[in-house]
C-alpha cells in the first residue's frame, strides 16, 4: 500500500515535471515577448512618454482624446478600413479564381504552381521594391508596355498620384497576399472527395451546378477563415505600405499602422503611439469577436 502511494506521488510529480518541461517554455516566452509588452503598451497609452521628458506621467484618457480629436487620426482610420476591405475582397476573389484554375492536374503543374506560390513567401520588402521599379512613373516597364500597346498616352502615376496611390498599393500587396488565399483554397479543394463530383455528373449536373452545390459549400469554412485572417493582417499591414509610399503622397495612403509608426518613431511620442496601437487592437478584437459570434467559424478553429 505504502509503496503504491509513493509510486503514485512519484508519478504525479514526474508528470508535473513533464508538463513544466513541455509547456513551460511556450508560456514563459509568450508572456515575455507577447503579453507583458502588450500590457506595457496598454499601460503606456494612459501615460505621457515623450522624447525630452525623463518622467512618465499618468495622463488618464488624454492620449485617446488627443487622438480622436485629431482629424489626421480619423482620416487614417478611414483609410485603414478602405485599404482592408478592398484588399480582402480583391485577394479572396483572386485567390479563389486562381485556385479553381490550378487545382486540376495539367501539364507543367509544378512550374506553374511554383511561379504562383513564390509571391507569398517572397519578403514583402522585395515585393515592395519590385513594384516600385515596375510601376515607376518614369522608368516603369508597365507604363512603357501600356504606352506601346496604345492604351495610354501619358504614363500613369501609380504611386505618386493622389487618386491612384491607394489602389496601386492594394494591387501590389494583392500580388503577394492573394496567394495566401490561393494556397488555402487549393489545400481545401484537394480535400473534397472526388466521388461527389462523379455522382453529380452521373445524375446529369453541369459544371456550374457542381460548383454551386459541391465546391462552394465545402469552401465556406475556408472562406470565412480567410476573410478573418486576411482582414486582421491587412488592417495591421505596415511594411508594404511603408516601402511603397511611406503613407504619401500627401498622406493618401497613411493608414493607422503608418500613422502610429510615425508618431512612435518619428515624433517619439510613445504614449500617444501606444494609444493608437491600442485602438487598432480594440477594433480587431471587436471585429474578430463579432465575426465569431455571427458566422461561428469555431468548428474550424476550435481545439480538440
Amino acid at each position: 500500500m505504502k509503496r503504491l502511494w509513493s509510486s503514485a506521488i512519484e508519478r504525479i510529480s514526474v508528470e508535473k515535471l513533464w508538463i513544466l518541461f513541455t509547456v513551460g517554455p511556450v508560456i514563459a516566452l509568450l508572456l515575455a515577448i507577447g503579453f507583458i509588452p502588450m500590457g506595457y503598451a496598454i499601460w503606456l497609452s494612459f501615460h505621457s512618454k515623450d522624447p525630452f521628458m525623463p518622467t512618465v506621467d499618468f495622463v488618464g484618457l488624454k492620449n485617446y482624446i488627443t487622438l480622436f480629436t485629431n482629424p489626421k487620426f480619423l482620416a487614417s482610420l478611414g483609410r485603414s478600413l478602405q485599404y482592408t476591405i478592398v484588399s480582402v475582397v480583391f485577394q479572396t476573389l483572386m485567390g479563389l479564381g486562381i485556385a479553381l484554375l490550378f487545382v486540376r492536374p495539367f501539364r507543367g503543374k509544378l512550374f506553374a504552381r511554383t511561379v504562383v506560390f513564390l509571391p507569398y513567401l517572397i519578403p514583402t520588402a522585395v515585393v515592395g521594391l519590385m513594384f516600385s521599379w515596375l510601376l515607376s512613373t518614369q522608368y516603369g516597364v508597365v507604363n512603357q508596355l501600356l504606352r506601346q500597346l496604345g492604351l495610354i498616352r501619358f504614363p500613369i502615376t501609380f504611386f505618386d498620384g493622389l487618386k491612384s496611390a491607394m489602389y496601386s498599393v492594394i494591387m501590389a500587396g494583392s500580388w503577394k497576399f492573394g496567394m495566401f488565399c490561393t494556397l488555402m483554397f487549393i489545400a481545401r479543394l484537394q480535400a473534397i472527395p472526388k466521388n461527389l463530383y462523379e455522382t453529380a455528373q452521373i445524375s446529369g449536373a453541369g459544371a456550374f451546378q457542381c460548383f454551386r452545390d459541391i465546391t462552394l459549400p465545402h469552401l465556406k469554412s475556408t472562406l470565412l477563415l480567410i476573410v478573418l485572417l486576411r482582414g486582421i493582417w491587412m488592417f495591421n499591414k505596415f511594411d508594404m505600405i511603408w516601402i511603397l509610399t511611406k503613407g504619401g503622397p500627401l498622406r493618401v495612403t497613411e493608414t493607422l499602422a503608418i500613422f502610429s509608426y510615425r508618431i512612435a518613431f518619428e515624433e517619439r511620442s510613445f504614449g500617444l503611439a501606444a494609444a493608437a496601437s491600442v485602438v487598432i487592437l480594440v477594433i480587431l478584437v471587436i471585429f474578430a469577436t463579432s465575426y465569431f459570434w455571427y458566422f461561428k467559424p469555431s468548428k474550424e478553429v476550435e481545439v480538440e
Partner: protein
C-alpha cells in the same frame, strides 16, 4: 466533346495568363539585375535581356554591406527557427499528452497573438530593448521574430500531435522505453512533417520580416537583408541595380523551399496548421 475541349482551352489560357501576370514581376527583377547598370535609366527597355553583366552583383557583394546583411539575416533566421521549432514541438506534445488546467487559456492566448498588431508589440519592445541594451543585437531581433514563430508553431504542432496516435507511444512504454526515449525515437520521427512545416514558417517569417528589423536595428551593420536592400533607396538616388540584384539573391532560399516542400506545405495547411 467539343465543349469539353473548349473548356480545356479556356482553363489553359487562364493558367498561362495567371502565370504571366504572377511571373512577370519576378522575371523583370532578375532581368534588371543581370543587365549592365548603364541600361537602367535609359528606357525604352527591351523585354528580353540583350546584354548580360555581373556588374550589379559585383557592386552588391564587394562595394556594399550586403554580405553583412546576409550574415545577419542567416543568424537571426536560424535561431528564430531553432527556438520556434523546439518550443512548439515541446508545447504541442505537452498540450496533447497531459491533462492540466488552463489549456483553453493557452489556446486562446496563441490564437489571440495572431491578432497583435506588429506595431503594438514593436513600440513596447522598442522601449524595453532600449533599456536592456538589446537594440541592434541578434538576441533582440530573434526574440521579436520568435513572438510570431512560436504561437504559429505551437498551433501547428498542437494540431499535428492530435493526429499522431498515442497507441504507438504506449506500445513503446510497454516494451520498457522511457518517456524521453519514446519522445525521441517514436514521437519525433512521426512528427517530422509538422516540424518541417513549423521550421519553414518560422524561417520564412524571420527571413521576410521588415517591420521589426526596421524598428529595432538602426546600425547599418545590424541590418537584415530586407532593411538592407531598402537602404539602397536613398534620398538622392535609388540604386535600382543593387536593389534588383539583392532582391534576386534574397528570393533564392524561398524558391528552394517551395520547390522542395510544395506538397508538404499544402498538406499541412490542409490538415492542421492554418486549417
Amino acid at each position: 466533346m467539343t465543349r469539353r475541349r473548349l473548356q480545356t482551352i479556356v482553363i489553359y489560357v487562364g493558367i498561362i495568363f495567371v502565370v504571366l501576370v504572377m511571373g512577370f514581376p519576378l522575371y523583370w527583377m532578375v532581368k534588371t539585375s543581370v543587365e549592365p547598370p548603364t541600361t537602367l535609366f535609359s528606357p525604352p527597355y527591351s523585354y528580353i535581356p540583350t546584354t548580360f553583366s555581373g556588374e550589379n552583383y559585383r557592386l552588391l557583394l564587394f562595394e556594399t554591406y550586403f554580405p553583412t546583411f546576409l550574415k545577419n539575416s542567416v543568424i537571426v533566421a536560424f535561431f528564430c527557427t531553432l527556438i520556434s521549432a523546439v518550443v512548439s514541438v515541446l508545447a504541442g506534445y505537452g498540450l496533447t499528452r497531459f491533462e492540466f488546467p488552463g489549456k483553453k487559456l493557452i489556446a486562446r492566448g496563441t490564437l489571440f497573438s495572431y491578432m497583435f498588431p506588429p506595431l503594438m508589440l514593436g513600440i513596447p519592445l522598442y522601449i524595453i530593448f532600449d533599456s536592456l541594451g538589446l537594440r541592434n543585437t541578434y538576441v533582440g531581433l530573434v526574440l521579436a521574430h520568435a513572438s510570431i514563430g512560436i504561437p504559429l508553431g505551437t498551433w501547428i504542432m498542437w494540431q499535428y500531435f492530435q493526429i499522431v496516435p498515442k497507441s504507438l507511444e504506449e506500445a513503446a512504454w510497454v516494451s520498457g522505453a522511457s518517456r524521453m526515449r519514446t519522445l525521441r525515437e517514436v514521437v519525433l520521427p512521426i512528427a517530422t512533417p509538422g516540424i518541417i512545416t513549423v521550421s519553414t514558417f518560422a524561417f520564412a517569417f524571420s527571413w521576410n520580416d521588415y517591420t521589426y528589423a526596421k524598428i529595432f536595428q538602426d546600425d547599418i551593420t545590424m541590418f537584415t537583408v530586407t532593411t538592407g536592400i531598402n537602404s539602397f533607396v536613398e534620398r538622392t538616388a535609388v540604386h535600382w541595380g543593387l536593389i534588383q540584384a539583392g532582391a534576386t539573391l534574397i528570393t533564392i532560399p524561398t524558391l528552394i523551399i517551395i520547390v522542395f516542400l510544395q506538397r508538404q506545405l499544402l498538406e499541412s495547411m490542409a490538415v492542421g496548421g492554418l486549417k
